[in-house]
């Protein structure tokens, strides 16, 4: 048993020892470190832009409007998505999406705006009976696909020189695919947070005459808010440490700035590319351990925030 504690202490020990290694006369290349950190950050933010709205909205739907039988299936499907090795997603991004995306950036942007608007308008125009609405995740698929395709077609008409990416492997591509990869994380954690709420509160709201939507927005959402923030933090931590997708889809060019159509190089990709080539205890090795340390610190920070938020959620439930 004591062996195990040692084992768990290893990461902390190794990285601490790496940090305490003396830098022989030369200070580490902080500018490069900053660029790598910026690359990871850009990829993470871009991924969250896609994953968070979709994942949380899907979880809200599942918790309040979904047919109960479908809810289990939805969860299982997303768990299977989580199980897909990220190298496979990286392959799809690198080989299949990148060439298409290079000429359809404007289409994707327009589709991301048009599809929600179209769904909203469709919801305004029609009234769906509640029982059928519960199965919307299934029969809504063609609807969403149609809205997205319409957006892409509309966007193709735009002649935008601003929408020409510098390289086919860019931040937008990384964000899209990394967003798909973290969608299950966001969904599962948000779903857990919503499911953990005492149902008495929602039922009381319904009994007092609130509609389901009102019960969701005024009762469940504020109560689950810290859980949802925890979900976002966990997803961010996962994106930040993700290696294969970023390695394959980002082009691995160490560029600074916040160009969402430019390439990037992340901390994790730097480790995967450079570490096998560097000799142990050389200068490059030490710099790479610094990169690892930075990566560890950031993910641990995000995890700590998520943990605090979850503790809050639990305290609220007890109250």
């Amino acid at each position: 048993m004591f062996v195990l504690l040692l084992l768990c202490a290893i990461p902390a020990y190794l990285l601490a020892s790496a940090a305490s290694l003396p830098f022989a006369g030369q200070s580490p290349d902080w500018a490069r470190l900053g660029i790598l950190f910026g690359g990871s950050l850009r990829a993470t933010l871009c991924a969250l832009v896609f994953a968070v709205p979709v994942g949380i909205a899907a979880a809200l739907f599942a918790a309040h409007f979904c047919a109960p039988r479908l809810r289990g299936w939805l969860r299982a499907a997303l768990e299977l998505l989580e199980a897909v090795p990220t190298v496979v997603l990286g392959l799809i991004a690198f080989a299949s999406i990148a060439p298409w995306l290079a000429t359809h950036v404007a289409g994707v942007v327009v589709a991301c705006v048009v599809a929600p608007c179209a769904l909203f308008a469709w919801g305004l125009a029609t009234r769906t009976p509640r029982r059928r609405l519960g199965w919307m995740p299934l029969w809504g698929v063609p609807l969403v696909v149609a809205a997205l395709v319409a957006g892409v077609v509309l966007g193709a008409g735009i002649d935008g020189t601003r929408f020409v990416p510098a390289s086919p492997w860019n931040t937008l591509l990384v964000g899209l695919v990394l967003g798909v990869a973290t969608l299950p994380t966001v969904y599962a954690m948000a779903d857990d947070a919503l499911a953990a709420l005492p149902s008495a509160q929602t039922q009381a709201a319904l009994a007092l005459g609130a509609t389901r939507w009102q019960a969701l927005v005024t009762v469940a959402l504020p109560a689950a808010m810290s859980g949802l923030i925890a979900a976002v933090c966990m997803a961010a931590a996962r994106c930040f440490g993700e290696t294969m997708i970023v390695l394959m889809a980002s082009g691995n060019t160490p560029l600074g700035g916040f160009d969402w159509l430019g390439g990037l190089r992340s901390l994790s990709a730097e480790l995967a590319l450079e570490l096998p080539r560097s000799a142990p205890s050389g200068a490059a090795w030490r710099e790479l351990l610094l990169v690892a340390l930075l990566l560890l610190a950031t993910t641990m920070l995000l995890h700590a925030v998520a943990r605090v938020m979850r503790t809050r959620l639990r305290a609220r439930q007890v109250a």
Partner: protein, 422 residues
Amino acid sequence: MSRARNESAGVALLGGAAACCVGVVVALAAWLAVAGFAPFWPTSVVEVSLRDGAVVLGERVAQFDDAQVLRTSEIERIGGAYRRLRPDDIVSTALPRDVLAIELADGRRLFARDAGDAAALLAAAGAIESDVVERVAPNALGFGSRCMLFVKRVARFVAGAPDTSNISGGVLPALIGTLTLVLLMSVLAMPLGVATAMFLHQRRGAYARALRSAIDMLAGMPAILYGVLGLGLFVHGLGARVDAWFFADRLPVPTFGSGGLLWAAATLALLTLPVVVVSVERGLAGIPASLREGSLALGATREETMWRLLLPLARPAILGGFALAIARAAGSVAPLMLVGVVKLAPALPFDAHFPYFHPSAQFMHLGFSVYDASMASPDALRGVPRAYACAALLVLIVLTLNLSALVLRNRLRARQRMLEPA
């Protein structure tokens, strides 16, 4: 506009997001199935007459807006005979029925008009009859025989050896490497994980709390950091020490001091430990307290209760954790890139020479093959389809394991519902 309408629009938006999730999953599965198995489907051989009078025989491998790419007979080397044809170069295209497509053991493909032509091509390619792996007339094949050929090609891919440059051929070493790695990993991780879960289940102290947060931390660490750990600690630390003590006669050639199967398995064991611990502990926690108390009341010691009662009851949870751990290990590639996975290692990790199993050997891995074939293949038009085929195989393995974990979990739930006092 009424409030009800606004609300129905909001719900439609949420439902659309849920539909989006389903759509992504379905699209991914469909795309993988199509792209993963398409490389094995026998394609037709076309005969293209060009404007300059030449006639080219080959298979179409890529189609662009302004041109198509034809793979013609690869007489000199694999991937050395692509022709890029523009529409205005082409006079006519035909599908002659008697064309032969020949595949050699080193992956080269030859296209001949008839048997005599085939013999001449083989001689030019420096190949003899026994080098021929596949010889068919693809244009004359019916649907049934195309299916047969498809199955045969899939079997050759799964159970065959790669060619010398890993551009084409089978993936058996990668498959065996993946499976051996994962088995070795579970031998290391399972006892430790189950023991830890048992410990955590029984104790509530500062030590248990520290252990729990350490496991939480391990679970949240990015996979690549495990690779850093494995390289720094196992390979350069432990491995160099082992070399200095036991294999000093072979130095400076490293035995355990470079990446290999054992260190990769140890790295993955660390990576999957939290998965095992969490899932086994959950299984133990789900056992009704009345059973445990009853056992203790009947005079069993705590150890007897643990071994005879709780562990057998938690067996589905242990198996479920095992399957999840394997799935996670089989799918993680990033740490392996640092601790000994290589592009090509045709020798399997076990053979007929003493000690029969070589834990220090470098190995191939399906996930790394996906990365390598797509990013670093010298022949991109073969590399990407090959990467997709590897990816489909990998996903098939991982999903099978995950589904079995799901089924086990459901069985566990049903069983525990039975145990609950009425």
